[in-house]
């Protein structure tokens, strides 16, 4: 078990290192921030001078080694745009991203799993048809549209919720729904399929034969067995929700790392982008490592097979 965990960790570090290097090279080859920083009427000499002051005139491999040297000392460098340590900038945005991802996960699980249960047990009924329509809508409407529609309906027309902001709990409601909708559909479909799968098995028939009601069988036995694939999805969705909120964060002016990432890429604020990439790849790799380890703990068969 320990050896298994160690192997997975080493793989994880190699993966993160690879991602960092690729992003570093791609970002540097596609233009440097100097051109975006100077006023329009700056002369070529002025631009060259600033580029030299900021160190972007050095060969890319020198800049890369320099970057790695800093990294080894946990020094992520200073943002050329904001003139503040890059790690501080990203750290100040993380709480917002975690809040939004939690809200979205709550929406996704809280609505998706019950919807999946109902769709699996009331097959052919009007309720299933209604829920199917909602699930399909949730997964096919892009968030920039659903976000604006939500703002228009609940913010501008009904005035129930604030149109933007991040200061209080109510501001979190609409972005959570917009971001959680896609995951909600995934959870609903996964839950429905797993339950339908389980319902065809012998123990369900046996339970019904002994006179248990369908709901009693589902809640006492089926749900527990259907949970494993749903947990797998949850691990993947957490990564998606943390990293995939760029559009929702932009529409709702929610100051998370998605919004920061897109702004930093546009302004070629290399070091901030690097910190974000490091963080997101770390979260992705770690959730998948953790999920693997959790399976091994939860399911003895997986542990034994190693």
């Amino acid at each position: 078990m320990v050896r298994y965990a160690a192997e997975r960790l080493i793989q994880a570090i190699i993966a993160i290192f690879g991602v960092l290097t690729i992003v570093f090279v791609v970002m540097h080859l596609s233009g440097d921030p100097t051109l975006l920083l100077v006023p329009q009427d700056a002369s070529a000499e002025m631009i060259a001078q600033l580029r030299q002051q900021l160190g972007f005139d050095r060969p890319i491999w020198v800049q890369y080694l320099d970057y790695l040297r800093g990294l080894a000392h946990f020094d992520f460098g200073i943002s050329v745009v904001q003139r503040v340590p890059a790690a501080d900038i990203v750290a100040s945005r993380v709480p917002y991203t975690v809040m939004l991802a939690s809200g979205a996960l709550l929406v996704a699980i809280g609505m998706g799993i019950p919807a999946g249960i109902v769709m699996a047990t009331r097959r052919g009924g009007w309720l299933e048809r209604l829920l199917t329509a909602i699930v399909v809508t949730g997964q096919s409407v892009p968030t920039f549209l659903s976000g604006i529609v939500l703002i228009f309906v609940f913010g501008v027309t009904l005035r129930w919720l604030p149109t933007s902001g991040s200061g209080d709990f109510v501001s979190l409601i609409m972005p959570s729904i917009a971001l959680g909708a896609l995951s909600m559909s995934t959870f609903a479909r996964m839950t429905r399929i797993s339950i339908i799968d389980e319902l065809g098995k012998d123990y369900v028939r046996a339970g019904r034969a002994r006179g248990l009601s369908l709901s009693a069988v589902v809640f006492r036995h089926v749900l527990r067995n259907a949970a494993i694939p749903v947990i797998t999805i949850a691990a993947l969705e957490i990564g998606n929700l943390l990293a995939g909120a760029v559009i929702v964060e932009t529409v709702f002016a929610w100051p998370g790392i998605g919004q920061l990432a897109i702004q930093s890429i546009q302004s070629r604020d290399f070091l901030v982008v690097q910190v974000i990439v490091l963080l997101i790849s770390f979260v992705y790799v770690m959730t998948s490592v953790l999920a693997d380890l959790v399976y091994a703990i939860v399911d003895p068969r997986i542990r034994m097979a190693r």
Binding site: G31, L35, D41, S43, Q82, V84, S164, A253
Partner: protein, 497 residues
């Protein structure tokens, strides 16, 4: 009339006055597309940053509503010779920590921004200044490298920072906790979220109209408009013309707009590709119906121009004829140049309206060229546009403002041989704009720019399309006249019940 009645009436009047007083607005909320990059006014110069920090700091000089350069921290100035200017510094101005603003602070501010160690992106605006020194507590003497006519126009953008405080806390801390002599002081800066400002009670010039001002960062324009309609924001910046109707349709909101010094222009590569032939460039100039562009795409929030420049800019001239829309003549010129069907690459980035780019493409294709749009992100776009002529595309769109309202900040960097933007070279033109930047005689400069614009008309290395308007959405109760230099001074605003 009984005494009792009079006293009741007086009481009513007073009651009225006190409720009116209670109704004055405490907090003004402004939605900007982004947060300030830095609040150190000597670092970043972009609209969102300076919209905020120019309310925290005073400038050496400023512009009045008519656009004239007027005193602010400097109460007067005089030229000692062509390269030396002496500023009289206003007395009785204090920074927000109560300390006195003196000539030392002014000299420090100038020397700080031109010091290469600060790595200021704004250096290019001030690099003609050699040095500044305080010769007395109220006098600053400034020397320029050569006679520099745009000096005053550039100094409008120079914020005065407190020497003692900056030296005490250091550059990094000063950026996070700026302190100025302006009408508002920073209370709290939640990076990426909002900046909260509070009125400085000791401000020398006027009483700040609102006790608090909050600048929020709201990147999406639909969200900014929703904020305005629901009263979450009182003023929003950067409303695209096609969304202005939706603001006007709201009973509590209004559109405030103003013609700016910013000019939308088309770059034509005179050194590579099909556009190397001057007849092709002239044909493109005849092919574009800029009046239609302004009416259909800008919905009137813009005005056609005859040159690459606009009225608020010193050196702008009405005497040079613009190109009239004449597709037949354009076709003839293309035929004469043997360029029918020639491929022309049109560079653009998401910063510019796609509809405008496509409309221009259509107009140019209609007269016989084959325009292909190639869109990339802003950094890549700039790299190509400012790089080697062979790779700079045949056409590119741009929206130019030097925030200095002087032709030296527009047509010099755009078309002077050797400038990064210029894919064009004409010795006669170079001589004119070179001379215009080192003489102080205003009438003489105007004449030089008129001749320079005449050459540009003939050679068409660039084509003025329209003067852009700044478009803001505001609560109907907000009274404010926006200015041509896109500044956002809260002290110019007021609230009317």
């Amino acid at each position: 009339m009984s005494a009792r009645f009079i006293s009741i009436a007086a009481a009513l009047v007073m009651l009225n006055a006190s409720t009116a007083l209670a109704q004055t607005k405490d907090t003004l909320t402004i939605d900007l597309p982004g947060d300030a990059a830095t609040l150190d006014p000597h670092l970043q110069w972009n609209t969102d940053s300076y919209s905020i920090y120019r309310n925290i700091f005073d400038n050496l000089l400023t512009r009045d509503v008519k656009g004239e350069i007027v005193p602010q921290i400097a109460s007067s100035w005089k030229y000692l010779d062509d390269k030396t200017i002496e500023f009289q510094i206003r007395e009785g101005v204090t920074f927000q920590d109560g300390s006195k603003l003196t000539a030392e602070d002014v000299a420090f501010s100038i020397n700080r921004i031109i010091d290469p160690k600060l790595k200021s992106p704004q250096l290019s605006q001030f690099d003609q200044i050699a040095k500044a020194e305080a010769t007395s507590p109220t006098i600053v003497k400034m020397t320029t490298k050569s006679p520099y006519p745009a000096l005053l126009a550039q100094l409008v953008k120079l914020s005065i920072v407190p020497k003692a405080y900056v030296e005490k806390v250091g550059d990094q801390e000063f950026n996070l906790k700026p302190l100025g002599s302006g009408p508002y002081k920073l209370v709290n800066w939640q990076k990426g979220v909002q900046s909260e400002l509070e009125a400085y009670s000791g401000y020398w010039r006027v009483k700040p109209p609102f006790q608090h001002v909050v600048f929020r960062s709201v990147p999406d324009v639909s969200t900014r408009i929703a904020d305005l309609k629901t009263g979450k924001a009182d003023l929003i910046r950067d409303v695209p013309p096609d969304q202005a109707e939706s603001v006007k349709g709201d009973s509590n909101s209004q559109i405030l707009s103003v013609p700016t010094e910013r000019v939308g222009y088309l770059f034509l590569n005179a050194q590579a590709g099909a556009t190397k032939d001057v007849r092709v460039r002239q044909a493109i100039a005849y092919a574009i119906d800029s009046k239609a562009l302004v009416e259909a795409l800008l919905e009137g929030y813009g005005a056609p121009v005859n040159v690459v420049g606009a009225k608020p800019v010193f050196g702008y001239t009405e005497k040079v004829q613009g190109y009239a829309y004449d597709p037949e003549k354009a076709k003839e010129l293309i035929k004469a140049a043997g360029a029918e069907g020639a491929k022309v690459e049109f560079l653009t980035s998401p910063a510019y309206s796609r509809a405008t780019i496509e409309a221009i493409q259509q107009m140019v294709n209609d007269v016989g060229l084959n325009v292909e749009i190639s869109s990339s992100d802003q950094a890549t776009f700039l790299k190509r546009r400012q790089g080697d002529p062979a790779n700079a595309g045949g056409l590119a769109f741009g929206a130019w403002s030097c925030a200095c309202q002087d032709a030296d900040g527009i047509i010099f960097p755009l078309f002077r041989t050797g400038s990064i933007w210029a894919k064009y070279s004409n010795g006669k033109y170079d001589a004119l704009v070179d001379k215009a930047r080192i003489i102080l005689d205003q009438d003489e400069r105007l004449k030089l720019y008129e001749q320079a614009y005449e050459i540009l008309r003939e050679d068409v290395p660039g084509l003025g399309l329209y003067q852009a308007y700044a478009v803001y959405g505001a609560n109907k109760k907000l009274k404010w006249q926006p200015t041509a230099n896109e500044a956002m001074f809260v002290t110019d605003m007021s609230w009317q019940q």
